[in-house]
Symmetry: C2
Subunit: 474 residues, 2 copies
């Protein structure tokens, strides 16, 4: 899955800042065995799930507590060395690549629950905890954390990219579900960005500024998130459609009617084929919607009935229920493995993932035109979508050794983004900007907004040491 | 209702910056009759609903479009003159006071709907439109905008203070309901902070940075907000309790069970008395919860039944239904007029409003101890609360001419805020910091976070002309 043999953008040596020996000595002296300069460790921390590559960081610090992070950042600040926070490495946009050199701070050992406040529906965890670890830790409370980007990412990483995923249509994204953060700033100071109060009008919303900042404004070390009561009843359903358009129009109507559907995922016909093969399923190989309903038993029944009626209007067929937890898990695991299923369908390939999100009324237009373009290109792809939010992903499957395939895929992505922006959408619904979408961001936000972002970055990180080179040019 | 004869903090002349004659000439030349220097107009724009006062602004510009705002700010920027955006003047925290002089920009004429996108559940309006105007404008779509801070505030003002109110327990606050803004920056440039996509990971969240920035980072000129389908069924209920504690414990259990209650408001016994008198009602003069349920007919019934059972456990009595729109409107109008009812109960008085918000599990502790203190003080007060969010307001009714009353009220507020912070809460749930809560904010956020806010302010407003003196010391 990792670093392709031919990097997309091999940063020139000029991009790399020097890492003074005195700095590395100080780091080793402070962290001992928790600081590694072994190539294999550095390489593992210098790549992610994107098709991009760069030389690895100069060292990796394994942080065990906030003080470790603060000390590492403080040393880096003294020496002007870049710092890249690392969770589990599941970024799709090159966030973890040391494009300007520097060190990686691995927060994976900071995976403890700090405070469960079940009566307030909140939990505070160290930023290196993954979403599955969080749900495991709170399972006895009758509560759960719904945000599910597919990968078992860390909460810190999910904050940094403003992640969302399959449940966002009902429960929102990290933007809506983080109450407060502890952050190590660019000078190594530890701050808190909020309280456990459900709402606040006390000053600038530093929490929301950090959420989505991709490590460029500070290292997130603690996260306080909202939890939700486990629904009394959950049911999942699969419905096949004669066309993508029919599936999308069904989704649009579900959303416009205000039905509180918990998940509504689109998978196109040939992605279903890949998923069937990979996960040993027998889903009908047509465009399908994979749905989930949460609520009281009668509420779930009511929602599902209404949705079934809507689907019928659009010739939805084979509305099948998955009522046992095992069946549901099997379906959702298959959905989450669509990416891997696709990758395996073309040995040696890499996926260039798109991430556009448009207002729901524009979804059919955006999707259908882009499918036509992708079909015409000859590049194989998978297509999955959090369609209830207007967000979908093409994964163009390219051979990283064939420059022309990459060019075609990038061109398809450019056309798609241009279309999404013309439809009042965004270039990134949930993956972030990273290295790969910087030009798109300029087009989307405009020079004025980018300058405002840049002014904030300059003010909070005057040495440009926090994950430099990501989101925009400093 | 307005400017008291004795201001709380009379700013010294040193606070006032000079407004050059050349600037006023340029302003008049650009805006003609839409620029006023008449004392009565300036005085009307230099005060709000807070008990604070300051000399009025030097001029008022009545903006009719974004270009007007941009031009006014640009002129102000050239001359280093402060700019204070004005909506309807309903701030409770002194946001509109020209404590450092400068001009007021009145956005009240910018009250047009720009784009209704009913199929996407969004609407884009000019920032001077009030929430009632918005709801009037979209009423034929079957959609509504739920955020309801009581006052018929402008959307721009509601963004600036991160307003919320009675519906926030279900629909969230302005933080969750603004998709995108158009903002005039401190240099007079016009930027957009987002798209109409429901979610985005494209760069820093400038929308959320502006929401709650109280006019200190820019003037909000356009607002794109989420709308919601009008619930199929709505029912409201009033339930009386033997004690505040019983009412609060009922609320806590409603929230912990995840019941999607749309409103749950506490009114204490003697505030009920004031409300009865003012609104000619006959509510039982005991602590009461005023509730509203939204959903499908069966969903609403189910919610209401569960809540009624919970209330019964805590000796809730006289669970009465208001099912017709007229009855509901009458009840909610009475709730919204609690402030005016209280003010009228003590002729010539002013209210010092508190705005703490705590995690729901701490609500009973916070509230009961604070009531005991208020009762012991001898200062009359009203007490209302958005208790489903852990947010409540004491209004201490003081004679502005009696310094001792003010001191006692301020002391009560200090004790309350200290208690809320010790319970992991915030000094402001929805009114903002303004002039009055700056010391509380420092205690709550800590020096590091305040310095980060200040660094952002310095970066985006290097001349400190955007509503200077608010939130924190520059």
């Amino acid at each position: 899955m990792h670093a392709p043999s031919t990097p997309t953008k091999a940063p020139t040596l000029a991009d790399q800042r020097s890492v003074p020996a005195a700095f590395l000595d100080a780091l080793k002296s402070r962290f001992g065995a928790n600081c590694s300069t072994a190539l294999v460790v550095r390489e593992q921390h210098g790549r992610d799930e994107s098709p991009l590559a760069a030389p690895p960081p100069a060292a990796v610090v394994f942080a065990e507590c906030t003080a470790d992070v603060a000390d590492a950042v403080q040393l880096a600040s003294e020496h002007g060395v870049p710092v890249i926070p690392f969770g589990v490495g599941s970024s799709l946009e090159g966030h973890l690549l040391a494009v300007q050199g520097g060190i990686s701070i691995d927060l994976g050992r900071m995976n403890n629950v700090l405070r469960v406040n079940a009566e307030d529906l909140t939990v505070t965890v160290q930023a290196g905890m993954t979403r599955k670890q969080v749900n495991e830790a709170v399972k006895d409370t009758g509560l759960f954390f719904p945000i599910d980007p597919g990968a078992d990412a860390t909460l810190g990483g999910m904050c940094a990219t403003r992640a969302s995923g399959t449940n966002a249509v009902r429960y929102g994204t990290m933007r809506e579900n983080v109450l407060a953060l502890e952050v190590v700033t660019a000078s190594g100071e530890v701050i808190r960005t909020g309280t456990r109060a459900k709402k606040s009008s006390a000053g600038y919303d530093l929490t929301r500024l950090m959420v989505g900042s991709e490590g460029t404004l500070g290292v997130i070390t603690e996260v306080t998130i909202k939890l939700y009561p486990l629904p009394e009843a959950i049911s999942a359903a699969v419905c096949s459609f004669p066309s993508i358009e029919a599936a999308v129009r069904t989704t649009i109507q579900i959303i416009q009617m205000g039905i509180p559907i918990a998940r509504v995922e689109l998978i196109d016909a040939h992605t279903v084929r890949m998923v069937n093969k990979h996960s040993h399923l027998t889903l009908r190989e047509q465009p399908l919607l994979l749905m989930e309903f949460h609520g009281s038993p009668s509420g779930v029944k009511e929602q599902a009935q209404t949705v079934q009626e809507i689907a019928r209007e659009f010739d939805g067929q084979a509305f099948e229920w998955a009522t046992t937890p095992e069946e549901r898990t099997r379906l959702w695991t298959a959905r989450h493995n669509a990416y891997f299923a696709a990758i395996q369908s073309k040995p040696g390939c890499r996926a260039i993932s798109t991430d556009t999100c448009v207002p729901i009324s524009r979804l059919a237009d955006c999707l259908l035109d882009s499918i036509a373009e992708a079909d015409a290109s000859g590049i194989p792809y998978f297509l999955v979508g959090h369609v209830g939010d207007g967000n979908f992903h093409f994964g163009y499957l390219i051979d990283p050794n064939i420059a022309q395939e990459r060019e075609i895929a990038e061109h398809l992505n450019q056309q798609l983004v241009a279309r999404a922006l013309s439809l009042e959408g965004t270039c990134s619904g949930e993956h972030g900007v990273g290295l790969h979408k910087q030009d798109f961001l300029v087009t989307e936000a405009g020079a004025g907004a980018i300058n405002m972002m840049r002014a904030i970055k300059h003010a909070l990180d005057p040495q440009n040491i926090m994950n430099p080179g990501k989101i925009f040019k400093y």
